[in-house]
Symmetry: C2
Subunit: 335 residues, 2 copies
């Protein structure tokens, strides 16, 4: 039997906490028998929600915390002051070794800062990137870095490429993942100073399957498995991806509801369309890992619902079983 | 009667040249009576195409050129060597004062470099940005800069904001256009070094209606009329916008064609959907101007068809009538 994975879950973070978070935890432990979820948050609220469900005894445990970090708060200050917040308490469970992973839909800044300050970086990792998975026409791609630490150096990008490759290969099961650098043209001489400096370094790295530059246009088509970029550009790419999808789908729904004729048409295409939309539903793939920390820290969308929470929890199993952090240490030639 | 606008048109550039380019020129002169199009390219090929159409005599004139710059060529070298290319010949028509504007669907790099070297910058303009219009849920927004000159300074971004405001107000008719800076969060303290430096400069500029930061996610919703950004980030935003749209629409079309039931449904929603898709069709708005040059230079998509060419030509009328370049000179406090 496989080893039990202990996941600390911020039950107070995100737009739909604690209801959807707890529902997601219940689904996860009902689906997999090697998970224990440590639900961090307000005791009364959590107990009231938990009462609604049935799940194997002992597979969800409550950990009390009395404070919540708001998304508007300055992250460093919040992490330092709110010692009893669900984020700080949850991260400490990983730091203490009681849990393997921490998942939160709360303040991205606080999770990123807290991850580094409390869980800590693997020795030799210069900067832990936030690496969301985005659905493409061919499956899913890892966009690394989309975090808050902008203005990266080429040595950071090389580490992102290596860590991203490991994640895609061993957590997502993509053999020999194609790594590309986000650029504004396909040619090697194109790009800004950082890209021009990093391109030959990636090209000469024997540990990764580097395929060259990728334009943002080709990311949704699935032309790379790992897209390496500085966090500002990565954040722009990620959020434009989300924004276009949401506006386009919203407008199309509106169009389908605009007349009786189109409403009947919408009914007829519903089943076919659902399958396609499911393919592009980011919540199918779980949250974004913060790579290179001593434990796994995962940031889910602020708007995460039940399914995304469940999938994020299940993601932690592969991360532990595949010993991702040992592989990162090895590939970065450390220790 | 309004003054005649002379437009030089690269008949050899883009994926659909010369057929679609010439068709677009014919439509433009048939629609508006104050345009003369100077069609630049291979004499025989152009004459053969022109024969297919009827249009007011003298409103399309042929200008011969024997060379073509390929998209793969190094721009500076190509502009210097291929003196008889359609791009160089067309830009010289603007430089010599024979034409008010030049439009090309050819090599973006060559158009950008040629625009600066041949047409030249308005005195005081530090860097002429490429400013495509992107359709949004609320109309259209100008994304400035999406060109090839990356790693901009804050003084460039200030000029982009001013020139972009003038373009949106007088060419697109948007009163008091909302200007925002592309950022990775809404707060003033967020961003990379360039954004942090530029934010207060834009905030304190009395000539523009600055509304703060905009995340890429909120661009498709139409939350700003002018989005100011460094070209690398702008290019990523633009191309991700195009890429997601194209993949999503392609997948949805595939879904609608997947069964007899869905095909019937597709027929029923066709009319409603067409209206929505038209709204998001970039070719409705014409090409991207290169702002701050002594004449107007417009880059259309490499894949531009008839309609985009026509709309780009018609765009040139407002540019001349509204004396955009005089306004730019005035607002940049020059001369």
């Amino acid at each position: 039997m496989s080893e039990t994975v202990h996941v600390a879950l911020d039950a107070m973070g995100g737009d739909n906490a604690p209801g959807e978070v707890i529902a997601g935890a219940v689904d996860a432990v009902n689906k997999r028998d090697n998970i224990v979820v440590h639900l961090v948050g307000d005791h009364e609220k959590l107990a009231a929600e938990l009462k609604k469900y049935t799940y194997p005894e002992g597979r969800i445990v409550q950990v009390d915390s009395t404070e919540v970090i708001d998304t508007g708060e300055a992250p460093v200050m919040a992490i330092r002051k709110k010692k009893d917040s669900s984020i700080v308490v949850g991260l400490n469970l990983v730091h203490n070794g009681e849990c393997d992973a921490f998942i939160s839909a709360g303040s991205t800044g606080a999770v990123l800062v807290g991850g580094q300050l409390i869980v800590g970086r693997i020795r030799g990792v210069e900067r832990p990137p936030l690496a969301p998975l985005i659905p493409t026409a061919r499956g899913v791609s890892l966009l690394v870095d989309c975090g808050a630490n902008v203005d990266a150096r080429s040595s950071h990008l090389l580490q992102f490429a290596k860590m991203g490759s490991i994640y895609m290969e061993y957590v997502l099961g993509v053999k020999n993942p194609r790594v590309a650098i986000l650029n504004i043209g396909a040619e090697e001489e194109k790009g800004n100073a950082l890209v021009k400096e990093t391109y030959p370094i990636l090209k000469n790295c024997p540990d990764i399957n580097f395929t060259g530059s990728i334009e943002a246009r080709d990311i949704p088509a699935g032309d790379a498995d790992v897209v390496v970029c500085e966090a500002f550009a990565g954040n722009v790419a990620l959020k434009m991806y989300e924004g276009v999808g949401s506006v386009l789908l919203g407008e199309m729904k509106g169009a389908m509801m605009s007349s009786l004729k189109s409403k009947i048409g919408a009914l007829l295409i519903k089943d076919s369309l659902k399958k396609t939309l499911k393919k592009f539903d980011a919540s199918e793939y779980g949250g974004a890992p913060l790579l290179g920390l001593k434990g796994l820290v995962v940031k889910t969308h602020g708007s995460a619902k039940r399914k995304e929470v469940t999938n994020s929890i299940i993601q932690c199993i592969s991360f532990k079983e595949e010993k991702i952090n040992d592989r990162i240490k090895e590939k970065l030639n450390l220790e």
